[in-house]
């Protein structure tokens, strides 16, 4: 599904990522873990087109997407959530998800201004679909609330609903459980499994080890910009290099 091939990223003189390669199987849940500053979010930013790598390539289903812009990647079915929750704060929950349907609709400025018949139909479709996704994640009750007024946990959930509306093949989630309480985290784990069962591939960066070990099929460990290890959760737990990196850290 996703192949990352020898990615290096240098900021000024600082090497954030060095020759990182990894492979994500279709329909899997892959965890990317590592201490702070390991380069996890930088990797996500490169894959989603927000940063340009210094060298290396990214392939989505064998298509080289290295230089694609985020908006193009969304059209190809690659979408992400953010560590710091990037909602459209002044818009309602429903409208947030409706923006997720941008690539699924095409009315331009002229047909929108004049409310041409096709646009009216399309608008109805967008609204129905958006409500569907809110129901899918259990947020339908909050549809008319302004996104800025949501509690933090619901904000994370809204980001996932909005990402689902793009109908992606692959979702990258950047610390989806950060700031959630244990009840919310276990609900999140169930939702992520449900999303995977619907055929969507998931990659997540996460610090909550319990969650990662619980839901991931395979795990990649980054440390100081390099790939330290990869394998099944069990293999990672027993890997001496990983243990020493984490213990050395703390």
């Amino acid at each position: 599904m996703l192949r990352i091939d020898g990615i290096t990223k240098i900021f000024g003189g600082l090497t954030a990522l060095e020759d990182v390669s990894l492979f994500v199987n279709k329909g899997s849940i892959t965890g990317v873990i590592g201490p702070n500053g390991a380069g996890k979010t930088t990797l996500f930013n490169i894959v989603t087109g927000l940063y340009t790598q210094t060298s290396g390539d990214v392939y989505l289903e064998e298509k080289n997407i290295s230089l694609y812009a985020p908006e193009v990647l969304a059209g190809l079915g690659l979408v992400r959530t953010f560590q710091n929750v990037e909602l459209f704060g002044q818009m309602t929950v429903l409208e947030n998800v409706m923006v997720g349907l941008h690539t699924k609709s095409k009315s331009g400025i002229i047909s929108c201004s004049f409310k041409l018949p096709g646009q009216i139909k399309e608008e109805r479709y967008i609204k129905e679909k958006a409500l569907h996704w809110l129901e899918y994640t259990g947020m339908a009750d909050a549809a008319e609330i302004k996104a800025n007024n949501l509690p933090f946990g619901k904000g994370r959930l809204l980001e996932i609903s909005r990402a689902l509306a793009v109908e992606p093949k692959l979702i990258l989630m950047d610390e989806p459980a950060a700031g959630l309480n244990s009840r919310e985290t276990s609900a999140l784990a169930n939702l992520i499994r449900k999303i995977r069962e619907s055929g969507i591939t998931i990659v997540l960066v996460e610090h909550d080890m319990e969650l990662v070990m619980d839901i991931c099929d395979s795990i990649v460990v980054l440390n100081l910009g390099k790939k330290l290890a990869e394998g099944t959760p069990r293999e990672i737990q027993e890997n001496p290099a990983v243990i020493s990196a984490y213990l050395g850290e703390s």
Binding site: A69, E71, E86, G89, G100, S107, C112, E123, I126
Partner: protein
């Protein structure tokens, strides 16, 4: 009542009010002021699409207003074009220019964008002043013909009132439609988080340029109408100060509200008439209003009105509940 139906009802009431207002007015002075309010409403809406929805500032929008006025004025006086045709050409040319310069300009953000648009506005102002052979320079361009439909000539205040306001209402309706569509949502998404909007598949770069062009096009239509109703234009109407005045209208009325733009335009058109007694005092008042509104009422007057409306609404609801 659904949101959509309420929206339509408000627009119908507004339209009706606009159409019957002249029946209650005597004398050309008030009609004239209302004509200016109409033109300024179009301009404020145009800027609001960019500033209030997409969150991109322009401190040079008077240039597009001027461009519309001058292209229309020059085509009709020097090349005897029909005013309607001249208006269409001026709108397309201004929109086209905005589209071209939009790509490099809208790459900039925040303060840099403000300065770049300001620079563009000043360059255009200098061009209006210095290309004397075309524009007549600082002393202006006169003898611009009135618009006419067959034998109906728009040369008196009542006719002008209806000409300007029918077009203003059209601009309002189209802008309301646009703001409630996927394009409007995408623009607001860019405003709130450009990164997230792009990740959701919104081509922020192109959409910002497109809305910049639409905004310039509407401003040029307003400019063309201004030229044909005043029959005289001079660069002084299209300078830096007017660009700032337009920003003030949008801020005071309310960012991201079409009716707010009308409110802002109306206040800033009427205010100088009241302040005329105090002479030149208006500039101080504008400055104070900009500062105070940004500090204490960032949503503009329309949000203040909405809060009052909601308060009254909930009180009525409570009363009817307690009665039942």
């Amino acid at each position: 009542m659904t949101k959509e139906k309420r929206e339509i009802l408000i627009f119908l009431i507004f339209t009706l009010a606009v159409l019957i207002t002249p029946l209650f007015l005597r004398g050309s002075y008030y009609l004239n002021v209302l004509v200016f309010i109409g033109i300024n409403t179009m301009l404020a809406i145009a800027l609001n699409l960019l500033l209030g929805y997409a969150g991109q500032i322009s401190l040079g929008h008077a240039a597009f207003f001027g461009l519309g006025a001058y292209i229309s004025g020059i085509l009709t006086t020097r090349f005897s074009f029909d005013p309607w045709l001249a208006m269409i050409i001026s709108a397309l040319m201004s929109g086209g220019l905005a589209f071209i310069i939009g790509f490099p300009i809208l790459k900039l953000k925040g303060h840099y964008l403000a300065m770049a648009t300001l620079g563009f506005g000043i360059i255009m102002f200098i061009i209006f002043n210095e290309t004397v052979a075309l524009t007549g320079g600082p002393s202006g361009l006169s003898g611009i013909p009135n618009i006419h439909i067959n034998s109906l000539v728009f040369d008196n205040d009542l006719n002008n009132y209806y000409l300007i306001w029918v077009i203003t209402l059209m601009v309002m309706l189209l802008s309301i439609n646009l703001s409630q569509s996927r394009i409007g949502r995408a623009l607001r998404a860019i405003h709130d988080s450009e990164v997230a909007a792009r990740v959701m598949g919104v081509n922020a770069r192109v959409l910002k340029v497109q809305i910049f062009a639409v905004s310039a096009l509407i401003s040029a239509v307003a400019g063309s109408l201004y030229a044909h109703t005043m029959t005289f234009i001079s660069p002084a109407s299209f300078g830096f100060n007017f660009s700032i005045e337009l920003v003030t209208m949008v801020i005071i009325g309310g960012l991201g509200s079409i009716y707010g733009s009308f409110l802002g335009a109306a206040i800033l058109t009427v205010l100088p008439e009241f302040l005329r007694v105090l002479q030149d005092f208006d500039i101080v008042v504008y400055g104070l209003m900009l500062i105070l509104m940004t500090m204490f009422m960032p949503g503009g007057l329309i949000s203040g009105l909405r809060l009052i409306g909601e308060a009254i609404g909930s009180r009525i609801k409570r009363k009817s509940v307690s009665n039942a």
